[in-house]
Symmetry: C2
Subunit: 563 residues, 2 copies
């Protein structure tokens, strides 16, 4: 029962739920015609199904090894990666000037969704490169761009992000790595970094590390952080990998999942680095990379949800206990809810991507603000959906779900990290209620208004479903208004449940659109009803939780929590 890339489903959403058409009508993305998108998704889907998915369990069973200081990837990964690179899949949205396809981020997101479902560990490698390309485009000097971007776009070289240190996780400003200017325009970068995904491998001829470090005169905290390019091999005068840099892989982590992706402890020992962007402005450059990565991590969750759903559904059709278990009401409810959640999460992620594309192509601030607003929602809800669907997938398999050979367990183990990396989901929620609403929630209210308007218009055709979406949006709007008057502690105490409610309402909105697209009768409408009538009520419970604020939590002392 192999994985099948959801090409048709992605096409449906981009045609009818979160239309790509307005993006393709911009000058910048005029080439993203329906035919091109169809061809891209079909071709990428073939690679996912035939090359990447068959290696997924290999990565779990045969993790990369650290041999004489170098990482040897899972057998087969190198050859599969070659096909990813040669197909141009590292830079679907990469800059045309440097050899990329220049397609909308939305199309890249759709491809990443399929690749994540096929093989999350392997997919993570080019994903990191994509973020690095974007950071270099925006912040690197032309000279550095010329050297690095073409090699990254072609997939000959890979990119990594080096932020975390043992004492500096969510508090990036606590990092200690330092960079000393050498007088020739380069810097000696020294420090230890942890949790570096694909910190080394034999997939590519070079590994390009973007490293956060402090210059000698740096202020404390995040205002004193600069970004450096520190390649594994220093490019020679021809731009080819030359002398080895003073970068070492100290060890590989033993993780719960995502075994096929080497998670490295890296040591920079006076390694030669080049400053990216202005001194002390490293966080801004890093955020360019992280914003791309955040949405893409949400999409990793969605890809795993797809793969886990496919496997569970197929098992439920084949496994007979009295009858095929898919006929049992409880299993059927579980599968229907899995599918409904997956659709919601995928639509939210694609809506985020469309907004970012529109923002870039039109320069309109409203689109950019919507993309920024939806990024933490897409990240958190996508990853929570990945975990929930994978968990339900285990349950559908019964005892077989707990046996590793089945593969259902691997999905859960792999996807679990997505709720943690690129900013934990708690951090995402704080971003949503904090920074993304610092303007009084303008972007949120604009979106809620659209949801309510559409629901009102839909009342003729789908009175029950539209009414419930309208009511849920209205409750969310009231809560969002209330929140504007609260202090940070109260907002943050309810941030995670608030984000959940936000995502739930958005999901209802997109399900309603899908139902309307088939005229209010058919399988899309039936799925919308599953979501809106069975799952959307959770939004109310989440808002009740969010409304409680912080005081009740601090009424429990540390000692109370320990007793």
């Amino acid at each position: 029962m192999p994985y099948r890339s959801p090409v048709a489903e992605l096409r449906f959403i981009l045609d009818h739920v979160v239309p790509l058409a307005p993006v393709a009508q911009t000058d910048l993305f005029a080439e993203a015609t329906p035919d091109t998108v169809e061809a891209i998704l079909t071709e990428a889907g073939r690679l996912c199904d035939e090359v990447m998915a068959p290696l997924n369990r290999e990565g779990d069973l045969h993790p990369p090894r650290l041999v004489d200081g170098a990482v040897i990837a899972t057998p087969g990964f190198r050859e599969a990666y070659q096909q990813i690179a040669e197909g141009g899949w590292v830079s679907v949205a990469g800059p045309v000037d440097y050899g990329g396809m220049g397609l909308p981020l939305t199309v890249a997101i759709a491809v990443n969704d399929m690749m994540a479902g096929a093989n999350l560990s392997l997919q993570l490698n080019p994903l990191l490169t994509q973020g690095q390309i974007e950071a270099l485009e925006h912040h690197a000097s032309d000279a550095l761009k010329e050297v690095y971007i073409p090699k990254l776009v072609s997939g000959e070289w890979a990119g990594t992000m080096n932020l975390t240190e043992p004492q500096a996780g969510s508090d990036v400003g606590a990092l200690r790595a330092r960079a000393e200017p050498l007088g020739d325009g380069t810097y000696a970068v020294t420090g230890q970094k942890i949790f570096i995904s694909w910190g080394d491998s034999d997939l590519t001829a070079n590994v390009c590390h973007l490293v956060l470090a402090r210059l000698p005169d740096a202020a404390p905290g995040t205002r004193g952080i600069s970004l450096f390019m520190v390649p594994k091999f220093i490019p020679d005068e021809n731009g080819e990998p030359g002398e080895a840099n003073a970068v070492k892989v100290v060890s590989l982590e033993h993780k719960m999942g995502l075994h096929g992706s080497p998670t490295c402890v890296m040591s920079f020992e006076g390694a030669t680095g080049w400053l990216i962007g202005a001194p002390h402005k490293g966080m801004a450059a890093m955020f360019t990379m992280m914003n791309n990565a955040r949405l893409n991590v949400g999409v990793q969750g969605i890809g795993i949800a797809e793969a886990a759903y496919q496997k569970a559904r197929e098992y439920a059709q084949e496994r007979v206990q009295f009858a095929p278990i898919i006929e049992h009401a409880d299993v059927r409810r579980t599968l229907a809810e899995m599918k409904a959640e997956l659709f919601a999460a995928r639509s939210i992620a694609l809506a985020c991507a469309v907004a970012l594309d529109m923002g870039r192509a039109t320069g309109e601030e409203d689109w950019a603000a919507r993309g920024a607003l939806l990024t933490p929602v897409a990240k958190s809800f996508g990853t929570e959906t990945g975990m929930w669907v994978a968990d339900q997938g285990i349950q559908v398999h019964g005892g077989m779900g707990f046996i590793e050979e089945t593969g259902a367990a691997q999905f859960w183990r792999d996807v679990r990290v997505t709720a943690i990396y690129e900013g934990t989901n708690g951090i995402q929620a704080m971003d949503l209620v904090g920074r993304k609403m610092a303007d009084g929630g303008k972007a949120a209210f604009r979106l809620l208004q659209e949801i309510e308007d559409e629901a009102r218009s839909a009342r003729d055709g789908l009175p029950d479903l539209a009414g419930e979406v309208w009511q849920a949006a209205e409750s969310l709007r009231e809560h969002t208004e209330w929140m504007q008057g609260q202090d940070n502690a109260d907002r943050f105490a309810g941030a995670v449940p608030y984000l959940r409610a936000f995502a739930r309402v958005l999901g209802g909105h997109y399900h309603l659109r899908a139902a309307l697209a088939e005229g209010g009768a058919g399988p899309r409408t039936a799925l919308a009803a599953v979501y809106i009538r069975r799952l959307l009520p959770q939004a109310g419970a989440s808002l009740a939780e969010a409304r409680e604020g912080a005081a009740g939590l601090y009424a429990l002392t540390d000692e109370d929590l320990a007793s």
Copy 2:
């Protein structure tokens, strides 16, 4: 940061929330005085903390091995098991006539809770023996009792359950193992069984398999199943392990977690067996064993929740990002909700045990019915709480949660199976809305009436909290009434969310009692407020989901689910 058995917490619940006092006032359990219980829990707690917990990660890293057809347990497990057996911990509730302590099941449950938190894999071995003792007590001939029960009570021998076959999981009636009478009162048992926990080991001198199989004249389905005792070594005339029986361990499963517990594929090849109970009445005998096991599996979830909570809280106090992360509102909310859920699940399990003890000691049908009603709730909610708390524990640890050395991941991997074995949580929920309400829901309505009455009485002291519990119970009562008029498909479609709502309301009830026990002010009250105001609203969402019934699910065809 070692595990510490929650002796004081268990004492508090048994003193104030789910009083053990009425049990100790019965003739049968007159010895269960507060002093005795205190001594038992303290002593068991020491064994858990000092002997079992330090081996927990060993089991994960060094699973049992199959060597020459015999299972060699994780290094250290044999010695630890000796201490469990010598301390009498295999049969806290075991029959006094055969060497057991004869204490209430409630006390055994409290001990099992602590042992599960310390080392789930090892704890599972004596847990299965406890169930077997109960099955033999009720169904075996006196001759068999004399041979087996003393050895099981002392822990010299271990017991297993052999139900599942590849084609017969939840549909036990599909099993094919057969038993031929040999004319001398014994039977030749032949067949393959899968998922047999602790199917063999070197912890004990003998392993006693209770095996479901069909006699030659058996009817199809569950009415044609008989139960047999098939020992690994056939007891000789002195009752000591003699000749090896024709029982083989074919292989060990590779599981997601619970690595320290060998999960065996067993082959019975004309093995000598003895009939337990009447021919064709094996299911009844098996249910005696399974009912005990179901509650105890719920308690496994609770034990893991305790261990995972302790680890996450300690990490949150020590890990500094800006400030100790326990001071961050989102982490604090997470920890408070973990603790609140744990208290709720533990109280439900102990309430179930008290009801079963009272039923046994008084012979009153109402108590027995309450115990039967609460068993699937305790199993499902205990295991869901274990998974949820372990999952949140990973999240609190951030990146470290995904690294195996931390230990947070193991809790989740280990506990995941508890929602599956001894009847999946879906099966439990069907039991609740089906068999346990076949009498029109009498036991449920009686319990709900008590909850409402107590909430009404509490309104003077705790108006807000009591009002919300009353309202939630009232909604649950209305739904339960509605459900009596529905057919099985509609009940079953909503069974899982209904069980969740049921457990949520019960949790509110016990939190209210805890708050009242401290006079309505203090940490118990603060924790009750966290539960009642932030988590109890989920009951409404669950009931909305449950109310939807089956029709909407079958509106989606198999093809719709596959597209």
